[in-house]
Symmetry: C2
Subunit: 154 residues, 2 copies
Amino acid sequence: MAAVDLTTHPGHLARRLQQAHHLLWNTMVSEEITSPQFAVLNTLVAEPGLDQRTVGERVGLDRSTVAEVISRLTRRGLLDKVRDPQDGRRFLLRLTDDGVRTHRKLTVRTARMNQVFLAPLSAEEQTVFFDLILRVADAAEGLRNPAEPLVTQA
Amino acid sequence: MAAVDLTTHPGHLARRLQQAHHLLWNTMVSEEITSPQFAVLNTLVAEPGLDQRTVGERVGLDRSTVAEVISRLTRRGLLDKVRDPQDGRRFLLRLTDDGVRTHRKLTVRTARMNQVFLAPLSAEEQTVFFDLILRVADAAEGLRNPAEPLVTQA
DNA sequence: GGCTGTTAATCAGGGCACTGATTATTTCAG
DNA sequence: CTGAAATAATCAGTGCCCTGATTAACAGCC
């Protein structure tokens, strides 16, 4: 008898927001390339030659997920993986020509989709929307790595 | 050369927000019961005897996902499934005593977690946060079913 | 009664996301 | 130089999430 109103639960709202986004992405951007895959491509356009771990850090994907995403992109020929001659643990990642083309094409469509997605909000509201979400997400991520104590006494 | 700033992409932000939430949920609420599972329990506290499809509608889970979530809750003995004598296609869902107890316990913890999660925002900002996300999500969901028999405000 | 269409649930298949354990390589202390 | 800690990547296991196809049951129409 003590049911809660889920519309005041940020986690629930975040999930619904993501689902709504997924729906729109699928219809307006691509059924092949997903949003996380696009994020990886985008990062490698900006910084070619990153390793897997760093890519994950940039786009907010953990080590396992980023490995799967990269393996899919590689399988589709959008990405090249080369062993780092300087450090045999690492793979250096780089877009193929096809990867670059795909990124360019999706960038346009993504911009269009974002417009539709955010259409219910005024320009000022959109700014607030980004700001609030970013602040909440950043703060929660900060809780994971509490300020590293410089003087360690473990 | 034409990399995009992902912090102005609502889909990317939604994903990051959900990940941050997941992290906090795991540490502050439960490692056993997930947020979607809690949403299902919560719905059945409010409306016992719903069928699977309706539960999915209430919490925003599609038919396949809701089936998995319910099967997990049933396996843990938090939920009972009974064939509807009125309609042999349906299963009627109801919490067990253990399910009710679990829901009660998690309700308290969830409230605490939400406070921590939203702490970076002032009270007014929290209201805006809910409002903006809800409006965007609702609008996008509305695009899926263009012409529904709208119940325009009673 | 039988046809047809709809609906609840399941199944097959793909992708995202996390944790904990393992492997290979590098780095650093002694 | 050598063994121990750290690091990049992979693997195993679980759970969420979606679409499209299938199965079983209901409902209306002739």
